[in-house]
Symmetry: C2
Subunit: 284 residues, 2 copies
Amino acid sequence: MPNISYVDGVYQNYENSKININDRGYHFGDSVYEVILFNEGIFYDFEGHINRLFGSLNAINIKFHLSKISLKIIISNLIKINRISFGSVYIQVSRGIAERNHSYKGMNIKPLLSIIVNKKLNNINNKLNGVKAITLDDNRWSRPDIKTTQLLPNVLAKTEANKKGAFEGIFIDSDGYVTEGSSSNIWIINYNNEIITRAIDGQILSGITRKTVAQFAKLNGLIVKEEKFKKEELYKSKEVFLTSASSFVTPIIKVDDIEINDGKIGQMSIDLRNLYFSELHNYQ
Amino acid sequence: MPNISYVDGVYQNYENSKININDRGYHFGDSVYEVILFNEGIFYDFEGHINRLFGSLNAINIKFHLSKISLKIIISNLIKINRISFGSVYIQVSRGIAERNHSYKGMNIKPLLSIIVNKKLNNINNKLNGVKAITLDDNRWSRPDIKTTQLLPNVLAKTEANKKGAFEGIFIDSDGYVTEGSSSNIWIINYNNEIITRAIDGQILSGITRKTVAQFAKLNGLIVKEEKFKKEELYKSKEVFLTSASSFVTPIIKVDDIEINDGKIGQMSIDLRNLYFSELHNYQ
């Protein structure tokens, strides 16, 4: 566990890192967040994450008082204090502290920023394992495109997956199409070697790793299509993988009871993962 | 504002009432809550609220360590300490404190109980005002029947209502039927003097005040029907009102741009409100 967190302007020991009981993030899930990885002082796609954070704040009308530059200084400082070389930083901004009332109209409150830094095992060069996934009905609210802390459906999906020995729960919309994972974007590769992931159509989060992987793949001459696909197509794909800030590119070798690629990690998924790591530093 | 709150076994001054930054209620909205009113030592429907709290905990698989009796003692004690005669008590139970991870599988954590007591103006005998409401698409997750802190859609709906000069936002499902208000149940009275509210069909919260009002109405020979109705029926109703723990029975005199009962409070709504207050003490 980390030693020092940041809460509303104050650096605190982990055990003493507390937020007020009347924080609207606690009462209402009235807050947004980001997770960013870093390695030896270099962030993975910092701009992408911070721009999305400000987009989320704007989407639910939270007027944040800090600039992107100030935020970067605070985050970098916290990482230094914690002396972590490879890890993740969790950033949450809630609307602020106020006596409990659903409506925030006329409330003159200051958004509350909290940051936690976690050490991560640097397993980038370890042997890559494929993971299992299950599918579930997408039962989230209508704005999964905003990165808010309305995450109970995701919590329940991920836990159900884990209980069934799987790593990820994949949400299926009411028309039978894959939306995204509980904490990742989902991709398939068909037998024409086309790499396919759902478009940013309001029903999924605009994944930062998703965007970067698509960009790198295209730069390397691979075909990337952004279109939705059904659960049955997922089952019949040549390869399936997920992307997320903390899982990078991770192959999925089984979905529900169906083995993908005979339960083996596909070569294109491995290539894309390696591409992600090798190219990333060029684009910082 | 209240002086003393209760957080995880400790009674604290309001300003010092804090929860750990890693509380899952804060990170994920992984928590449930209740609001109960009290007056001169008597709770409004305590059993109903506490039973629903335990039902909510059960629905999202939080294993709470306190009994209903222990909880009542803690709540009563907190009210006494704060020396409030008429007010509301807010009770929240989160899954507990843990390093951030969507899945709670295998986590051995203790649920965290926090309680806030608020003084309320005793305006039961004041002149009753009708309120305005607006309608909005119901964009919540699929389990609004569980009283969780997944409340951002409700927050946004209530704020939008307030910004338009209205008191409540009424959710309309994708088939055009009224589900419920952002923090209330919605009722209509038709020209046959039938009192109608949506059945407990999984798409609404099982309102405690809703249940009590229905019970009292039936006991007094009124016709209560539990069935869903469309937005257009709402517009054309003889009377419209809402029920909630903190608003009791409150007449709605305008929905969107449509005046109900020529914009005047209807007599049956007044009667039901008075019935609620007069009968409630008999059923404690």
